[in-house]
């Protein structure tokens, strides 16, 4: 990584961790994981399943919330607060700025996801459970999903306001988890036009359900290495595409 890219990433990380909002999110995530132990009393026999399931779910949800919350303001905040002028007046290209910001947020998310995973593991261990065999894979794939969401948020952040970027990103997130529905909708859709529109959407939108192996982990079903490698590759490719798109959009932009 070039020095500039690293400097921007490091600075974005510093900015994120010095913001109280991140701590708040983490506290909520811990609280929700801890609350799963309370919920587990309501069930008989499958207490541990509830804790493992809800805990991993909380990790994914709060990771996503942080990715969207910080992602949508990454560029806009710099433009709004006019801090970007001094940065881009340095020998920094626009793509370096964007990609640096992206890496900075991914670094933040790595730390946050790591902390949540540690808390989660401690909780499961405390409830007398053994270490779920594919926990690492589940957390890794959640992180790869966050990579796509962050990149999508960055695309929207590079040309619109945080409010709209949030709406668009959440929409992509929700639809991204339902793309299997789109696939089956293709045959049902009336007319060739609608069919091809749905097909295009199916290919453009990320298939985020790929990264959800939580139920397999909870029910101790096998997860093959090949599957994980494919999913990681998919995420990297999709992220690269989104970063390229964000750069194209941002490079044309006048910074008034």
């Amino acid at each position: 990584m070039s020095g500039r890219l690293w400097a921007i990433a490091n600075h974005t990380f510093k900015e994120a961790v010095r913001d109280r909002i991140l701590v708040l999110f983490l506290i909520f995530a811990f609280a929700m994981m801890a609350a799963s132990t309370v919920l587990s009393w309501l069930t008989v026999g499958s207490e541990l399943k509830i804790v493992t399931d809800l805990g991993l779910g909380a990790l994914a949800i709060f990771g996503t919330a942080i990715a969207i919350f910080i992602g949508i303001t990454l560029v806009h905040k710099e433009v709004e607060k006019k801090t970007i002028y001094a940065v881009l007046a340095k020998p920094v290209s626009r793509w370096e700025f964007l990609v640096g910001k992206y890496f900075g947020l991914m670094l933040t998310l790595a730390v946050v996801t790591g902390l949540m995973a540690v808390f989660y593991t401690a909780l499961v261990w405390w409830k007398g459970g053994e270490f779920p065999s594919h926990l690492f894979a589940a957390v890794l794939l959640t992180y790869m999903e966050l990579s796509i969401i962050t990149a999508v948020a960055l695309v929207f952040s590079s040309f619109t306001t945080p409010m709209l970027a949030a709406v668009f990103t959440v929409a992509v997130y929700v639809v991204g988890h339902l793309t299997w529905g789109l696939a089956s909708f293709v045959d049902l859709a009336p007319g060739a036009g609608t069919q091809s529109l749905v097909t295009v959407l199916y290919y453009i939108l990320p298939d985020l359900e790929t990264f959800n192996i939580r139920s397999r982990v909870v029910h101790r079903l096998p997860v093959t290495t090949g599957y994980v490698v494919d999913a990681v590759g998919y995420s990297l490719a999709y992220t690269a595409g989104m970063l390229a798109l964000a750069t194209v959009l941002f490079r044309r932009r006048d910074l008034t």
Partner: protein, 316 residues
């Protein structure tokens, strides 16, 4: 090779609710030679900041071209030897002053030892040593301006672009900024600064360009602009009674002193002879020159009235 070069730059920007494009720059051409201090003057809204943003590649000109040290302004490498102080410096509030200067040093990919040394030297030079480890959100406007100057100089630039460097500073701060600009000038650094404080431009600049309504309406060396343009002379004499100087009307008297306003150099000679002939003593003679402000106001008024004239013609 010119350090800065604008060639017929025009730029319109979206404006208002319907984002209609409004011409901000109509035709800006100028070039700045190495080692020059160039004052970019003009009333508020003339397009000074827009011009500087075009120079830095933050805005893309609609037509025309911009060059820094022979490279197009949109090329990041052009900014390698450039330092920039934005108008009303906005910096990251969560960083300390020292961290900010350090961060910008990293963006120039300076070796770590050079970066740290220059960072601490510059913080010292702008008088921020005591406050450098406080978060920027606690800084006053003057402190922001100082730390902004420190970051603008971190790469030891050949060209320094300062957008309104004096605005919001108290007299001491202005004096210090002036001293820094003069130091840069002595080192041979090219300085391009925008300002509407004309007295500062007058003392600092080699050349000034006056921007009005998106056009350069006047460009000149400061010396040529002010040289030989003595409007009148203020002259004071002592030990002589007014009736011994017939033909000269004193403007004021104080104690034994008489104050005169003499319209030209020839008349001044005659006045001095008259005072001496009457046994008096010349105490002081000082020329009153046109200031840059007179030119500025004159040029702006001239432009405004010619605009109005054109509009009248159109409506007629």
């Amino acid at each position: 090779m010119s350090v800065v070069r604008f060639e017929h730059v025009a730029k319109s920007l979206p404006h208002g609710f319907w984002l209609r494009r409004k011409d901000v720059l109509r035709d800006v051409s100028l070039s700045i030679e190495p080692g020059e201090v160039y004052g970019f003057l003009g009333p508020n809204g003339a397009g000074k900041t827009t011009s500087l943003k075009c120079l830095l590649g933050l805005l893309k000109p609609d037509s025309g071209s911009v060059e820094i040290l022979g490279r197009p302004g949109s090329d990041p490498a052009a900014r390698e030897r450039l330092g920039y102080l934005p108008e009303h410096p906005y910096f990251y509030p969560h960083l300390t002053g020292r961290e900010l200067v350090d961060y910008f040093g990293r963006l120039f990919s300076l070796p770590a030892d050079v970066r740290v040394r220059r960072r601490d030297e510059l913080i010292e030079r702008v008088g921020m040593s005591d406050r450098a480890d406080q978060p920027i959100k606690q800084y006053s406007k003057g402190m922001l301006q100082r730390i902004g100057l420190a970051q603008a100089l971190i790469n030891d630039p050949e060209l320094v672009v300062l957008d309104e460097p004096m605005s919001g500073l108290d007299p001491v701060g202005r004096r210090e900024v002036k001293d820094i600009i003069l130091d840069l000038k002595a080192k041979g650094t090219t300085v391009f600064f925008s300002s509407h404080i004309l007295a500062d431009a007058e003392t600092l600049c080699d050349r000034v360009g006056l921007l009005f309504d998106g056009r350069i309406v006047l460009e000149s060396g400061v010396d040529e602009l002010l040289e030989g343009r003595v409007e009148y002379w203020d002259a004071t004499c002592d030990d002589v009674s007014p009736d011994k100087l017939p033909g000269y009307q004193s403007r004021a008297t104080q104690g034994g002193r008489l104050y005169f306003r003499i319209p030209s150099a020839e008349q001044l000679d005659a006045w001095i002879d008259a005072v001496r002939g009457a046994g008096g003593r010349v105490v002081q003679v000082s020329p009153h020159r046109h200031t840059l402000e007179d030119y500025f106001i004159g040029a702006v008024r001239g432009e405004r009235s010619s605009d109005e004239g054109a509009e009248l013609e159109e409506s007629a």
